[in-house]
C-alpha cells in the first residue's frame, strides 16, 4: 500500500512579517529584530575582529546598514543570514584597516597546511572542564581561537559557534559549499591541535 502523502506546507519564518512591517517604516518591528539578533551579531564581530570596541562599532554599523538596505532584502535567504553577511563584511573590512593580520580575505589563508594534519594523538582526560576552572578555560579558548587565521576563525564561528548550516555559512561568506567544508575541517583540526597542548592527558596530570 502506498504511503499516505501529506501536502508539504512551508513554514514561514516569523522574521518575514517583522521585516515586511519594518520595510513599511514600522520602527518597533525593526527594534524587535535588533533585540533578537544583537547578541549574535556582537559575538560574530568579536570572534572575527578579536576586539571589543570594534565589535561594538560593527554591531551598530551592521544594524544601521541592514535598516537602510531593507528594500534590497529579497527574502531568498533568512533575515539572520543576510544580517550575518553584512556583519562579516564589516568585520573583515575592519581587520583590513587595522592591518594587524596579513590575511584578512576569505581566500588568502587557504594555502597554509599548518596544523591541518593531526600530530597530537593524546586523549583528553580528564575532560577539559574537570581540568580547568571556568575563568582559566575561558582564557585558553580565547587565546586559542585568536591564533587561528581570520578566514578559518570566521567559518568556525558561523558553523560551530553560531550553529549556522553549511549552506547558510556559504551564503553568509559568499563561498561555495565545498570551500566552506574544506575551511571548516582545517579550522577544527587546527583548533584541536592547539587545544591539545592544554588538554592532553599527562603522566602525573601536571598542567602545562
Amino acid at each position: 500500500m502506498p504511503a499516505i502523502q501529506f501536502p508539504v506546507t512551508e513554514e514561514i519564518h516569523p522574521d518575514v512579517a517583522l521585516v515586511e512591517r519594518a520595510k513599511k517604516g514600522d520602527t518597533a518591528a525593526y527594534e524587535q529584530l535588533v533585540r533578537q539578533y544583537e547578541r549574535q551579531i556582537f559575538r560574530v564581530a568579536q570572534h572575527i575582529t578579536q576586539n571589543r570596541e570594534d565589535a561594538e562599532d560593527i554591531t551598530q554599523d551592521a544594524f544601521l546598514k541592514a535598516y537602510q538596505k531593507l528594500d534590497q532584502f529579497q527574502g531568498n535567504s533568512k533575515f539572520s543570514t543576510w544580517l550575518v553577511r553584512i556583519a562579516v563584511n564589516e568585520s573583515l573590512m575592519r581587520l583590513r584597516k587595522r592591518k594587524t593580520s596579513k590575511t584578512v580575505s576569505m581566500d588568502e589563508d587557504v594555502q597554509t597546511e599548518d596544523g591541518s594534519i593531526p600530530r597530537d594523538f593524546a586523549e583528553w582526560r580528564p575532560n577539559p572542564e574537570q581540568l580547568y576552572g571556568q575563568n582559566e578555560l575561558g582564557d585558553i579558548l580565547r587565546k586559542t581561537i585568536q591564533g587561528l587565521p581570520p578566514g578559518f576563525r570566521t567559518v568556525f564561528t558561523l558553523r560551530d559557534v553560531e550553529n549556522l548550516s553549511t549552506e547558510e555559512t556559504a551564503e553568509a561568506l559568499g563561498l561555495s559549499v565545498p570551500a566552506v567544508k574544506s575551511r571548516l575541517l582545517r579550522a577544527r583540526l587546527q583548533l584541536r591541535e592547539r587545544l591539545s597542548r592544554y588538554f592532553r592527558q599527562k603522566n602525573g596530570a601536571l598542567k602545562p
Partner: protein
C-alpha cells in the same frame, strides 16, 4: 581506508552525511585506528567546548547601550 581518507570524511561524519556505501568503512577505520579515534573524539570535544562556553561576555549594560545607539541611528537615518 587510510587515515587521510578518514579525515576527508570527518566533516560529513559529524553531520551524519557520509555516503551510505562508505559509512561501514569509516566506522571500521575508527575501530581499527586508535589515532583517528582520538582525533574524532577530541575534534568533537573542540566543537562542543566552543559551542557551550560563551567566551565573550555581553553584559546587560553593554547590550542596552548598544541597543539604544542602534535605534537612535536608525531613527535618524530613515
Amino acid at each position: 581506508m587510510t587515515c587521510t581518507d578518514f579525515l576527508s570524511q570527518l566533516t560529513d561524519y559529524f553531520d551524519g552525511k557520509v555516503d551510505p556505501e562508505l559509512l561501514a568503512d569509516v566506522q571500521a577505520h575508527i575501530c581499527e585506528c586508535h589515532h583517528c579515534e582520538v582525533v574524532l573524539d577530541t575534534t568533537r570535544q573542540t566543537i562542543a567546548i566552543y559551542r557551550e562556553n560563551e567566551i565573550y561576555e555581553f553584559p546587560t549594560e553593554l547590550r542596552e547601550r548598544l541597543h539604544t545607539a542602534i535605534m537612535t541611528k536608525c531613527r535618524d537615518n530613515r
